[in-house]
Symmetry: C2
Subunit: 208 residues, 2 copies
DNA sequence: ACGAGATTTCAAAAACTTCTGAAAATAACG
DNA sequence: CGTTATTTTCAGAAGTTTTTGAAATCTCGT
C-alpha cells in the first residue's frame, strides 16, 4: 500500500515538481498575454527530457486534441519548440528549445515583430497628423509659437489654445523616442548571434 | 457652416490625432496584459496637457463611471498617474506622469514586484522539491542515483531513465538563473535615481 | 450634524477568449 | 489507389475578463 519512501527522490516527487513548474509557468504566461494552456505545454516540453507527441501532451495536461494541436502550432510559430519526426513512427514529436538564452532571444524577436513594430508604425502615422513640417497643405506651422508666458487655465482646456498642438507633439515625440530606443536595444540583443545576450549580462554586472 | 480650414492644424486634427493615439496605446496595452480601457485612459491623460476629472474621462472615452473609477485607481496604484486636488473644486483630477523614462521605470518596478517576484518564489519552491542537497529528511541523495534501470513505458521516455532528476534540475536551474539575471537587471535599472535608464541607453549605443 | 456632490463598490450583464469534439483534410503505408 | 493513422480546422460551449449602473459610502462646506 504505502509508497516506497526509500528511493532517493521518488518518481512521484519528480512528477510533483514537474506539475508545479508547469502550473507556475502557465500562470506567468497568462499574466503576460499568453494563453495558459500554451504556456503550460511549453513548460511541459521544456522541463521534460525527451520529445513528446500530441497524445502525450493531451494526456498529461488533460486538454483536448484541438487545443493541443493549436497550441503546439502556435509555439512552433513562436520558434520556442520544434517538430521532430521519428522514422517508423507516424506521429509528430515536439521538443522545446533548451537553451534559455536562445529561447529568450526568440521571444523578444517575436514580440518586437508582432507587437512593437506595428505600434511604432501607428504612432508614426499619428505623429504625421500633427507634424508642422508635413503641413504642405494648409500652412506651415512655426515650431515655437510667439511669447510663452501662459496664464494657467481653470479646468481642463483653459487657454485659448496657446499651443496645444506643440504640447501634443512634444509628448508624442518623447514616447516615440523611448519606444524606438527599446526597439533598437531589442534588435541588437536579438541580432548578435549567440553571445549577444550574455554580453548584456556582462554589461549588467559592469554598471555598478 | 464650413469648418475654417485656415488654421494651421485644426482642433479637429488634434482631436483625431489624440483619438488615434489613444486607440493605438489601448491596443498595445491589451496585448501586454492590461485592460484596454485602462490603457486608453492612461493614453488620454498622457497625451492631454491639463489634468482631467472622472467625468471628462467618461465623456471622452464613453465608459461608465464605475469603469472609469476603477481604472483610474488602478493607474494610480501602478504609479503612472497621480491625483490632483484643486481648491474650491470638489472633483478629483488626474494627471499622467509625463517623463517617459520615469513612467517606464515605474512600470518595470511594478511588473517585477507583482509578476516576476512571485514566480521566482514559486520556482525556488519547485527547485527545493528535487534538490539533492536539501534532502534532509528521507535520505541524502547522491547526485547520481545508483544503477537506475527502469522498464521504459511505451512512447515518450525511450532511454532507461539514466538521470531524469538531474536533467530536470539542470533545466530548472538554467531558467532560474536567467530570470534572476533579468530581475537583477530590472532592479538595477529601477533603482538608480533618474539617470539609470538613460545610462542603459548610452550603454546600448556603446555595444557596437 | 446635515445634505449635496463626488467616489467607490459590487452583482449582474456583456464582451471576449479559450477550449472542445467531431468532421474534414492530410500524409503514410502497402 | 484504398485504407488507416494522424493532424488540422472550426462552430459552438464553457470559461474568463471587463463593463455597467445603481446603491452604498465617503467628503466637505455650512
Amino acid at each position: 500500500m504505502a509508497r516506497r519512501s526509500q528511493r532517493p527522490i521518488s518518481d512521484g516527487a519528480l512528477r510533483l515538481a514537474q506539475d508545479r513548474f508547469i502550473a507556475a509557468w502557465g500562470q506567468m504566461g497568462s499574466t503576460w498575454g499568453i494563453s495558459r494552456t500554451m504556456a503550460e505545454i511549453h513548460a511541459l516540453l521544456f522541463i521534460t527530457a525527451g520529445p513528446l507527441n500530441t497524445d502525450d501532451v493531451m494526456l498529461r495536461l488533460s486538454v483536448s486534441r484541438g487545443n493541443a494541436s493549436m497550441s503546439l502550432r502556435a509555439l512552433v510559430d513562436w520558434g520556442v519548440i520544434s517538430r521532430i519526426h521519428r522514422r517508423g513512427d507516424r506521429k509528430e514529436y515536439f521538443q522545446a528549445e533548451e537553451d534559455v538564452w536562445t529561447m529568450l532571444r526568440q521571444i523578444i524577436r517575436e514580440r518586437l515583430r508582432r507587437e512593437v513594430h506595428p505600434v511604432l508604425a501607428l504612432l508614426f502615422e499619428v505623429r504625421d497628423l500633427t507634424d508642422p513640417a508635413a503641413a504642405a497643405h494648409d500652412k506651415p506651422v512655426p515650431l515655437d509659437p510667439p511669447a510663452a508666458g501662459e496664464p494657467l487655465p481653470s479646468t481642463p482646456e483653459p487657454a485659448p489654445l496657446p499651443n496645444l498642438v506643440a504640447e501634443h507633439n512634444r509628448r508624442l515625440d518623447s514616447l516615440l523616442e523611448l519606444i524606438q530606443m527599446l526597439d533598437r536595444l531589442g534588435e541588437r540583443f536579438v541580432g548578435s548571434e549567440g553571445r549577444g545576450l550574455k554580453l548584456a549580462a556582462t554589461l549588467l554586472s559592469k554598471v555598478s
